[in-house]
């Protein structure tokens, strides 16, 4: 009887868990919509563990952007989940306004062409580079 109860409890817990658990896709959607700029990277912004992740951190720093960073090396499910979510095979991945922007190469190009300033503006963020250039040219 006791054992039977235990099994029943266990099964109940299992079904409750299933009821409340979110799929990896929902989880990532929540993360990327939680902040205007979200980065999935290897390591943390203070200590990136990959050159490509580091480049993205440096670019965002130049633009003075505050962002939400997630270390995929700490979480294998997140590492695979985010690749599946965006259908993009590599890390880092950058999301602005909940939308996937690209990886390191694309960020670098957006930065070099100046388009990143525009992308940030669309999300209501004024790039620090824009403010700096305004200060320099007070016409």
């Amino acid at each position: 009887m006791n054992v039977f109860n235990k099994i029943r409890n266990f099964r109940n817990i299992g079904s409750i868990h299933r009821l409340y658990s979110v799929t990896p896709k929902e989880n990532i959607e929540k993360i990327v919509k939680n902040n205007k700029v979200v980065v999935f990277m290897k390591g943390v912004p203070e200590q990136p563990q990959c050159g490509f992740s580091n480049a993205v951190v440096q670019i965002l720093r130049m633009h003075g952007v505050t962002y939400d960073a997630h270390n995929v090396l700490q979480d294998e499910a997140l590492r695979q989940g985010v690749k599946d979510y965006s259908n993009w095979p590599t890390i880092p991945q950058i999301y602005i306004n909940g939308e996937f922007v690209g990886g390191c190469d694309i960020m670098l190009q957006l930065h070099q062409s100046g388009d990143l300033i525009e992308e940030l503006e669309k999300a209501g963020i004024t790039s620090a580079l824009l403010e700096k250039s305004k200060d320099e040219k007070p016409k």
Partner: protein, 134 residues
């Protein structure tokens, strides 16, 4: 035995119009993945220009690894396509490679016109910071 090998190499060099040393280099370095990346991009994206650079030596992987690549792809198929879509096209072609060992892929995707007006210089990828310790 060495004599026959030497003769064979000379023959190959003659046939392929390559230097003997180059033939030996080609025989000793097995860069299968690099070759397959190149071949696939060429056929699927009908490239005007292609470069596949193995950057694995810059990373924390055994010598001779084929894990980190940079590709320069110039194709008419990129005309009027945003950057992200061009990258997706390259990723799609190299799906199998990316799922089986190729760990980093840096992409430069240009249209022939863009390639013409660019300085056609390829910058190396950022330095490794040791995250990939396999």
């Amino acid at each position: 035995m060495f004599k026959s090998l030497y003769r064979k190499t000379r023959q190959l060099a003659y046939i392929s119009k390559l230097g003997t040393s180059e033939i030996i280099r080609k025989m000793t370095t097995v860069n299968l993945i690099e070759q397959s990346i190149k071949a696939k991009l060429k056929t699927h994206l009908e490239t005007n220009h292609i470069e596949v650079i193995n950057e694995s030596y810059m990373h924390n992987v055994p010598k001779g690894s084929e894990t980190h690549f940079k590709v320069v792809v110039v194709s008419e198929k990129f005309n009027n396509k945003p950057l992200i879509q061009r990258h997706r096209m390259v990723n799609e072609v190299l799906k199998a490679e990316l799922q089986n060992g190729v760990h980093a892929l840096s992409i430069e995707a240009k249209t022939p016109a863009q390639w013409q007006e660019s300085d056609q210089m390829i910058e190396p990828s950022p330095n490794c910071r040791g995250g990939f310790g396999r």
